[in-house]
Amino acid sequence: MFASIATIMVASMALVGCSSGSTTAEGEPDTSLTVGLLATPGNLDYTTTAGAAIPQALLYNVYEGLVKLDNDGTIIPLLAESWTVSDDGLVYDFLLHDGVTFSDGSPFTAESVKFSLERVKDNWTANGPAYLDPIASIEVVSDTEARIILSKPSNSWLFNMSGPVGTMFTESALADLATAPVGTGPYTVSSFKTGDSLVLAANADYWGEVPYMTDVTLRYFTDATAQTNALLSGDINLISGISQFQLVDQFKSNTDFQVLEGASTGEVTLSMNNASDAFSDVRVRQAVMYAIDRQAVMDTANSGYGLLIGSMVPPTDPWYDESLADLYPYDPDQATELLAEAGVSDLTVAFKIPNLPYAVAGAQVVKDQLAKVGITADVTVLEFPAVWLDDVFSSHDYDMSLIMHSEPRDVNAFAAPTYYAGYDSPAVMAKFAEADAADATTYVELMKEATTTMAEEAAADWLYLQPAISLADADLLGVPKNTPSLALDLSTIAR
Amino acid sequence: MTEKPTLSVKDLRVGSPFTELLHGISFDIAAGERVGLIGESGSGKSLTATSVMGLLPETLTATGTVSLNGADADLLTAGERRLNQLRGNTMAMVFQEPMTALNPLMRVGAQVAEIMTVHHPDRGRRQARQRAVELLAQVKLPNPAETALAFPHQLSGGQRQRVMLAMAMANDPQLLLCDEPTTALDVTVQAEVLKLIGNLVTDRGTALLLITHDIAVVAEVCQRVLVMYQGDIVEDGPVGRVLTAPQHPYTQKLIAASDLSSVDDRGRLHTMSMPVISTPGAAQSSPGPIQADAAAALTVPPHRAAHQRLEPDGPPVIFNEATGAPAISVRGLSRQYRRRGGGLFAPAPIVHGLREVSFDVAEGQRFGIVGESGSGKSTLMRILCALDQPSSGTVNVLGQSIDGASERQLRNFRSQVQIVFQDPMGSLDPRMRVRDIVAEPLRQVSRAEALARVEAQLAAVGLDADVMHRHPHQFSGGQRQRISIARALITRPRVLVADEAVSALDVSVRAQVLNLLADLVDEYQLTLVFVSHDLGVIRHLCDTVAVISDGRIVECGPTASVYDRPLHPYTQQLVSATPSMHELARRVTS
């Protein structure tokens, strides 16, 4: 892996040499980068603040954990040089890099591992502290050796360790997490203006390979058009994760820019409240599955960008099953039949959507298609996040909604009976539990079984997988294509 | 032929795209000559002046020739640049409205100085400023140096008009045009300003064109008079001759109607029978359906007032004290206003509208109240009509105490006491039909009956029934005042309060309305309270007059007695400022 990064680096250096546009007047390579992003972080503390915006900016850039996900979704070592797992899957021995320091100068040791991970249970309120529940104890073997003992085998916890909860903190710099994060990563935060920008500077004392880009500005936009305009006018160099795909085509024909299409973990989901009167009958949910022409939804609302998935599993997960996309082909007649079978006529459903562009666009198509099989969708646009979270997510006061689930490997959470989808299948839950404790091969098998069952029972209509499309100046190299994790890994980008 | 006339106007025609307003008038003014231009509203007299100045509104066009000193080319076709050189320098103008004619945001001294710097930039600002102060002194403004630093709103109307004069005379023009220069001023101030104008133009040998509707004004200042009627000059002659022996029928009627002391054999004022008001449909007025008995009209009421005056620092006097049950009885009436502003903690300054006023009005009396603006006469009128409440004192009208009375208690009072207002434009709601306006004071009367009574009442004031369905804007000023009177009388009130009821009317119409009012007061046996600034009108209409000044009644008594032998200095001043026609004629011819 490191090798591959190194290759890119070398290649980019060579390229820089003959690219006049990207060098400064003195012939120095231009190592500053401005990235346009949409969701702005409210603060910089992801231990207590939810949302993808903070990890997107900080994880792998400012903060690091023992392991990370590479761009293909593989778990690779980061602060841990290597690790071994006991045969029963309960004891993990991590060998740590030596001589690593936090950006405030304090050393990173096995003590830091113990401190950081133990802190999660009591002090974290956001970003899934429960992910570390499997940990029974943490032992400091030496400065560079840490041992983590699990209470039961878990396939998911190491994956989760690559996310925010696995972040290594130093005890000396906890005072101001919200504005002055201190980590071991290749960048440090040099300024942060809420709603406007976050400026990162290369960490000169970084223990690993110093990144090519020394000054990175993350600029936050509220409007996708403003974002693309900024790229077109040269204000920014890169848009990671464009959200309105009609804006993409103009870049394809423009040689000044490159369009990178990758896979995300964002399943755009037509959720049905399984616990509501309207959708408690599986046949009604299946009727909806047949009634929706997912390709048409994707074409209209997403300018055709995306991938039909049919389940809550993106192709980057090992238990992805591409055949599920065809489980419910578009078949209005079948839908009408199912509805008749279920004894439902003149069905009117409360379709409460968040006020997000893709949802508003998608809902119009869905409403139109449902109408063709006799289902009236009463569309209410709710303010996101505030009102949508209250009404739909917390109070479950809805029949149908449309929202993207962007967290990686979130299918287990979706299946929980208390979750807003109201899907209650003890069998599926048992299978997930079993899978987590099983060996690696069985794990994938069981996960596949559970997710297939969910698709068959139409727990929700996973319309399509949102594509991860990045738009960049043509001379940028190493732009991460996929977004398997929440992080936007800047360390690979070069000119 | 001697020297050329200062102003020569030949065949001046002014018209809008729709009508012609001036029908080719011609006149000359010799150097130093003082000429009056007299006419009623809309006769075209102001248009004449604005044409000469080249300040006609863009929508109007003028033809003919206007030349200054005979030398210059036609002013009507002269370029803007040439006109600018003449305006304010060779010819100057004073306008009617002293309140709005000065820039409110500029000190008056600077405004006077400006006319000099505009025409003589070489003389310098400092000199202009000094000269401005001198000019302010010449127009007899007190403390000219201080006044020069004042803003217009800090000056009274008369003072502002003096500033306008100072400005007009600054460059010693050869021609001064004054458009109704004193109309908006109080009588006593008017006399002073006229005298000032006369002196200024005589001293400098400036030719004067003085435009006015008031013969008295012309008689005061001018040597020659032009009479305008419907866009034509109908008479041109020396003031004395025109006043005493008018040639044109219109002039004859105008002068007759202006003379409030001359009545016909029925005790009625001379009205103008010329088709002055050619209104669509409406009846022409007099003689109205009421055939008042001349003798009855002149019957002196049983109560006769004592002639009293307020002594300086003397005790409050109860004027016109009546025995029995007077229609109106006012004792110790004071009204103060709290002016807006004042300090954060300091009380707002108090303005005294009325101070310790006591008087009676006997049943059937015609009681005049005369005073200048700000004297408190309007406040008094408002209190008598229960439109305002006294600060202290008692007011008793027809046995009803109105100080502190609630609207419910006043219900009967409201139908017993009615008002006729001054402004014929503002006293009728433009959005209502005449029938609704006249019927408004009626209460608990069926629609049919109301209409019948309205029709009868309109007939009584000399208007046809078909006016009922029209809106006020379709009537002339005199007709509107008739409608006002009809409204006031429809409830058969016992007391009628008239507030400057004829002040806004042209002379000709004034006489008609006064006659009508006199007739109706007799017909309905009304007690009349007539408030006015015009001593002449009151003298004609009222048997008793109270002179009010600075919130106090300073003198009260039988009208003739007060007029002929004024006791209070203020009354004396007032009387001498409003000469009768005979007096004027005497002054002019002597």
Partner: protein, 315 residues
């Protein structure tokens, strides 16, 4: 004069207090649970309840109001529930940006509106006056954000002369600050300029009918000179009223342009904070906006007193 100012200030203080109560009451019924938003979708109900207590959301309204407004009076707007920072500086920064933007646009608007308005008034009956007047009419009818979008498309995207958006503090890099300011200020100013020019026009037309202008003409001042020396100051009074009102509406109204140009102004901050249900911040922003407007009206009133001697002594 001093007393007048003192009295007005007293009234001003009272209105501020009332406005703060209105603000508080209006926002106290905001739906959406700030605690839930802070913790995200994975938090349990118990966590959310504990968070709510920690954020002081469970105290009675009167206590919360007094606590809040009492602190505001000593300059403490509280701590944002989202950024965990003092709100005051956040608001000041955003307000500064918006004020710069609004004032620049108003200056641009005035630079356009005064000559244009006077011209259309003076040439009222001429064909060119009618055409110019028509142009300003159309200017009024164009939505501001459309103007902004078109400006970006032309000058930023197509010609790449200017940045498409964003903000640079003047202290940071003045040249870049100006570059970032031009387009949004023009977008905001063009519509305002069109609106203002209509007011200038009608105000000048009205003043040209005044008697004192006729007096000035009678003095021998040409029409233009009479208008300049006597008319404009008088015409300024109603225009200033409109200007005050415009600036007041623009403080929030600029949000549309701020969105088009991704400028972190006060309106944008408000929208963001409302979305995040950052109640202390929202209260603070709304209060600042409202007080700013009240203060502006207060100043406009005082300015009138300076321009117009009649008000000076009448009060």
């Amino acid at each position: 004069m001093v007393l007048v100012v003192l009295r007005r200030m007293g009234v001003f203080a009272t209105t501020v207090v009332v406005a703060s109560i209105v603000t508080f009451l209006m926002l106290s019924i905001l739906p959406g649970n700030a605690a839930r938003i802070a913790l995200g979708v994975q938090a349990t109900e118990a966590d959310v309840a504990a968070q709510a207590t920690a954020m002081g959301l469970d105290r009675p309204a009167v206590v919360r109001y007094l606590d809040w407004f009492g602190r505001v009076l000593i300059g403490d707007f509280g701590t944002s529930t989202v950024s965990r920072q003092a709100i005051g500086p956040e608001i000041t920064d955003a307000l500064g940006i918006t004020v710069i933007l609004v004032l620049t646009s108003v200056v641009l608007a005035l630079l356009f509106a005064i000559p244009f308005g006077i011209l259309t008034a003076v040439r009222q009956r001429k064909p060119d006056g009618a055409i110019l007047s028509g142009i300003s009419q159309i200017g009024v009818a164009v939505p501001g954000f459309l103007a902004g979008m078109l400006l970006v498309t032309v000058f930023a995207v197509t010609f790449r002369w200017l940045p498409a958006g964003g903000w640079v503090d003047p202290g940071e890099n003045f040249k870049e600050f100006l570059e970032h300011l031009i387009l949004p200020a023009i977008a905001l100013g063009s519509v305002q300029g069109a609106v203002l020019s209509r007011y200038v026009r009608s105000s000048v037309l009205e003043v040209m009918r005044e008697d004192f202008i006729r007096t000035a003409r009678a003095k021998g001042l040409g029409a233009g000179r009479a208008l300049f020396r006597h008319g404009l100051r008088n015409a300024a009074v109603p225009v200033m009223t409109v200007l005050g009102l415009q600036i007041a509406t623009l403080l929030v109204g600029a949000v549309v342009i701020e969105r088009v140009f991704s400028i972190p102004g006060l309106g944008s901050l408000l929208l963001d904070k409302v979305a995040l249900r950052d109640l202390p911040a929202v209260q603070g922003i709304v209060l600042v906006l409202v007080v700013f407007v009240l203060a502006l009206n207060f100043l406009v009133d005082l300015a009138f007193t300076l321009i117009d001697p009649r008000l000076r002594s009448a009060a």
